[in-house]
């Protein structure tokens, strides 16, 4: 074994998996996990911990894996993270824990994410679940949204003895984990549903089909329903469009719509009633995780897929592993290009997309080099569907129906980072609703902070 290299992880063959929805990465077995764990140098001043937004004690859990004490490793992780089976799979490790791992200086970093996933999967398969509170403290907290942020906040509060109810707008709990991230990256039944079940086992009630701001307002939760505090973890679900001609044509979808049909409504499975059209050639516009997920879903439904992104490969914001997998599966990347118009026939059906080539200029505010159109470089590509994946912003449903809740100019709820405290008494918030579209682990971290903030507030009241 070459200690400079990660123990390779088993994956489904690209030419097989690009036709099914089963999980791409098969994960480590015990032997492989122990071998990978032995690459960790157990650094005293472990930089990896600082790289993890929830500061998991990485060397400690890895040391337990090395010894084969997986249950113990799980306890170490559980001190900091409520959703390790999810984070091990979807964290952008290369820019977090693994990005700063000492091993990475000369060789490849330790495969922290894959080890975390192994431990979490092992714990689930062996029926180990987190422990709830012995005694209830009689106080009620409402959590809005059952994404990673809401689930984490609810779980932490339940452990402290609070009577917690999550209100979820959709018919299933999990937020982006169920409606956005596809089955082939994050299995819904084995992983997500099991994590939701764990939160329920702590005593948390989940009421689906309740849209706060419509079914009830936050003030009604506090005044009529007897909740002592509210945590808003409603995410950033509002899709953006480009505003180019033809964008309202029939086969132009937001990535959210396309992915929701496929994931939440399981439209890819003919047994389910929700339709999803199968296309021959699809253009996906954008370069984030969402774009990769939409592209790889369309591919699996039989299309040739082009990802159109206006910057270069280096700036692609998606996780490195997803870009790598997408390429292996046969997604075509049309980089440094930008759509200017969507072409349609007289029935409003998409027939093509007009694209202009770009070059990179000076760095902009984000520090990335600004893409500039190359005059006269426009060309047309025949496609029969376009999926817009240009990012999302927080849904105004809650902010517009809650008096006294301050939002910023990006429509995000203003909340203190350490406590989740908002401008409205007894109301806390975190996750994508506060930061705008970010990551699972950051949303979880915010849920933890919110639980702490609410606990402090209610302990002093």
């Amino acid at each position: 074994m070459d200690v400079m290299k990660k123990v390779p992880v088993r994956e489904q063959d690209p030419n097989v998996r690009n036709k099914n929805f089963d999980e791409v990465c098969l994960g480590y077995n015990l032997e492989e996990a122990k071998a990978e764990a032995s690459r960790c140098l157990n650094c005293k001043n472990a930089r990896c911990i600082q790289g993890c937004p929830v500061s998991i004690n990485i060397p400690k859990f890895i040391a337990e894996v090395k010894e084969g004490n997986i249950a113990e490793a799980y306890n170490v992780i559980s001190e900091s993270s409520a959703l390790p089976a999810v984070c091990g799979r979807v964290c952008p490790q290369e820019s977090q824990c693994e990005g700063v791992c000492v091993r990475g200086i000369k060789g490849e970093s330790v495969s922290i994410g894959k080890l975390e996933r192994f431990v979490a999967d092992w714990a689930r398969e062996n029926g180990i679940t987190p422990k709830g509170a012995d005694k209830k403290n009689g106080k009620k907290v409402a959590v809005i949204g059952s994404g990673p942020s809401g689930l984490t906040c609810a779980g932490d509060l339940a452990k402290l003895g609070y009577d917690v109810t999550i209100f979820e707008a959709l018919h299933e709990a999990g937020g982006v984990l169920v409606y956005g991230i596809p089955e082939f990256r994050l299995p819904k039944q084995t992983v997500v549903a099991a994590e939701v079940e764990n939160v329920k086992k702590l005593g948390v009630k989940i009421e689906t089909n309740v849209v706060i701001g419509r079914s009830m307002t936050i003030d009604q939760l506090l005044n009529d329903e007897g909740f002592d505090a509210v945590y808003i973890g409603s995410g950033a679900g509002l899709p953006r469009f480009m505003g180019i001609p033809g964008e309202n044509a029939n086969e132009v979808f937001s990535a959210n719509e396309y992915l929701t049909r496929s994931n939440l409504m399981k439209a890819f499975d003919d047994e389910y009633d929700t339709p999803i059209a199968r296309f021959k050639k699809v253009a996906v516009v954008g370069g984030g995780n969402v774009a990769m997920d939409a592209a790889r879903t369309a591919l699996r439904l039989g299309a040739e897929v082009h990802v159109i992104y206006r910057r270069s490969l280096e700036e692609l914001p998606a996780r490195a592993e997803e870009v790598h997998h997408a390429k292996e599966e046969g997604i075509i990347f049309d980089l440094l290009q930008n759509p200017t118009e969507i072409l349609t026939d007289d029935k409003g059906n998409v027939t093509g997309i007009k694209v202009i080539k770009m070059e990179l200029g000076e760095p902009d505010e984000s520090g990335r080099r600004r893409p500039i159109e190359i005059p006269g470089s426009e060309y047309e590509m025949d496609v029969d569907a376009v999926i817009m994946s240009l990012g999302t912003s927080p849904n105004p449903l809650i902010s517009s129906t809650t008096k006294g809740l301050e939002i910023n100019k990006r429509k995000c709820i203003v909340a203190e980072e350490e406590t989740g405290k908002t401008s409205k008494t007894a109301v806390y918030a975190g996750g994508d609703a506060v930061t705008g579209a970010a990551t699972v682990i950051l949303a979880m971290g915010a849920g933890k902070a919110g639980a702490k903030g609410i606990h402090e507030f209610l302990s002093n009241n």
Binding site: A169, H171, S215, F241, E257, T260, P396
Partner: protein
């Protein structure tokens, strides 16, 4: 689970159900809708709230069978349940939030087309309950497709005007013909028209009211998935803005809505084959806008 307390076939291919949904019933207002999902594998189907009983905690829905899901739904009986029933969604009708004194000065006319009578009903009921009279025009293809006549008659009395396309009941002609007649020949003046029905009907009402100078509100029914503003499937061009019907609507200024685009978008999930099938199955009840029938 959300229990169905009553299920009736009230006209050809049109069904009425009372469903137990206390959270929805306690907060809903006229103009809002719900999304129902029959079972694990079902679609999310948006339906307007036709009536509600806050005390009993029930919601009344009225729907027409147009495709696979609504056909399946029509088979449900009293005692069965919906797995999911979410709402109220969308914004209440403008009138609910308006100043009552101002509203009382306004003369309002409703134009309902086919199953669009169902969403008109709670608004008419609300107005009369607040002491405001209004005119109601109900149009349908034929006599068998007139719904809620007795219920509306009990509220609006002589202010209810019924018409059928084929003249099989009361009079021959469309809702637009009645409106034209009331304004041009019977000296009626309206400050506002509220039109709800198939897209093609709302489009023609809007063309007429633009001519007559009557501000018009329409209730849009685009394809929806989540109904919470998350997917954008329901987007519409309204003036120079893109609106999401599920959160910004479903009611909009009819003179600003791009109906032609909306009609095209509604066809997205209808295959050529499916459309032909639809026309065949629906026969006389075919309500237009399927994209295959030349909008008749």
């Amino acid at each position: 689970m959300y229990k169905i307390l009553k299920a009736e076939n009230i006209a050809d291919k049109i069904y009425l159900m009372d469903v137990e949904a206390p959270r929805v019933a306690s907060h809903c207002e006229p103009g809002q809708f719900v999304i129902v999902k029959m079972d694990e594998k079902g679609e999310r189907i948006p339906l307007t709230i036709c009536d509600y009983d806050r005390e009993k905690g029930t919601i009344t829905i009225v729907f027409q069978t147009v495709g696979a899901s609504t056909e399946k739904m029509a088979k449900l009986k009293a005692g069965d349940s919906f797995q999911d029933f979410v709402g109220p969604l969308g914004r209440p009708s403008e009138m609910v939030e308006e100043d009552l004194e101002e509203l009382k000065k306004k003369k309002i006319v409703f134009v309902a087309g086919g199953v669009g009578t169902a969403p008109v009903f709670p608004q008419v009921k609300w107005l009369y309950a607040h002491g405001i009279e209004c005119d109601v025009i109900v149009g349908a293809k034929n006599k068998d497709l007139i719904i809620l006549e007795d219920e509306l008659r009990a509220i609006a009395g002589d202010n209810l005007y019924i018409t059928t396309d084929d003249g099989s009941y009361v009079r021959k002609g469309m809702g637009t013909d009645v409106l034209k007649d009331l304004v041009n020949n019977q000296g009626k003046k309206y400050d506002r028209c509220i039109a709800i029905g198939p897209l093609i009907m709302m489009k023609f009402v809007c063309l007429l009211t633009k001519e007559l100078g009557i501000p018009t509100i329409v209730s849009m029914n685009p394809i929806m998935v989540d109904g919470t503003g998350m997917c954008g499937a329901c987007r519409l061009q309204v003036g120079d803005e893109i609106k999401f019907a599920c959160v910004d609507g479903p009611e909009f200024d009819g003179h600003l809505v791009d109906f032609d685009q909306a009609m095209k978008r509604q066809q997205t999930y209808k295959t050529e084959e499916g459309r032909a099938m639809l026309k065949l199955q629906e026969g006389d009840t075919h309500h237009g806008g399927c994209g295959n029938c030349g909008n008749d």
